[in-house]
């Protein structure tokens, strides 16, 4: 499975379009990380725990999008976009979407 955020896969030709595929995940922060982040909030800077959490979540959303594309028979997803929304306190939705295509 090849993915890109452009309208084609570099070095390949698109032969068929399958349509929009999406993947999402909603995650909450866990309390241990939150306490560490609370301490870090005093001096500022990177919240490494949160970076990792969002990275994992985004990977999962991307994986779900890829699964959907595979089930359609596609072998690539182009024009991938990411969106993040905080839906309630302490929870965030990570969302990935793109166009499933077949490339050669």
């Amino acid at each position: 499975m090849e993915i890109s955020n452009t309208e084609s896969i570099p070095g390949r030709t698109i032969v068929q379009f399958y349509g929009v595929v999406t993947g999402n995940t909603v995650r909450a922060k866990h309390i241990g990380r939150d306490i560490m982040a609370g301490l870090k909030n005093i001096v500022g800077g990177e919240l490494a725990g949160y970076t990792e959490l969002l990275q994992d979540s985004r990977n999962e959303a991307t994986q779900r999008m890829i699964q959907q594309a595979e089930s359609m028979g596609a072998n690539a997803v182009v024009n991938v976009r990411f969106a993040t929304s905080s839906i309630s306190q302490g929870a965030a939705e990570l969302f990935a979407y793109g166009t499933a295509v077949r490339v050669e």
Partner: protein
């Protein structure tokens, strides 16, 4: 006396600690960013949504880098004061700047680790994370995300000058 210290001394002490430690960390981070940006200066990263004509790619994939940052106590207090009169909040500017540059560097490192030669169609996104408590207090962070399509050049000399 103890009460006086708890009410006024402690927040002041915290402010002082936040200022010195925060400033130190920020300087260290900027040094590291500048050093790595220098190392990757020859690595082409562009925001064009199609590949430049002189690139001939054999394969490509999506790469990304992200950072979650928090606002320190000192900066929040200064910004709170600034909000009264309005204007530029200088304490926040370097914070967002270094987070964004760090996200870009992580994206580049991601691409280089897998042996890619360049990145195009780079996009930068900023999103605010929710507070962990309903009353608007608790930890809030800002996430900076950089992503783009990394390509491998068809041959070592594919990129004509």
């Amino acid at each position: 006396m103890l009460e006086l210290f708890l009410n006024f001394g402690l927040p002041f002490l915290l402010l002082l600690v936040a200022y010195f430690v925060g400033t130190m960390l920020e300087k260290g981070h900027f040094r590291s960013i500048r050093k790595r940006e220098g190392e990757y200066a020859k690595f082409p990263v562009v925001t064009f949504d199609t590949m430049p004509d002189d690139w001939s790619a054999s394969s490509g994939t999506l790469v990304s880098g992200s950072v979650v940052i928090s606002l320190d106590y000192f900066k929040r207090v200064i910004a709170g004061l600034r909000a009264i009169v309005g204007g530029r909040i200088k304490t926040y500017e370097p914070l967002l700047d270094r987070a964004r540059r760090e996200a870009m560097l992580r994206m580049i490192e991601d691409a280089r680790r897998d042996g890619y030669d360049a990145i195009f169609n780079v996009r930068l996104e900023t999103s605010r994370l929710a507070n962990s408590r309903g009353d608007g207090k608790g930890t809030a962070g800002v996430e900076m995300l950089a992503f783009g399509t990394a390509v491998k050049f068809a041959s070592r000399f594919a990129r004509t000058q």
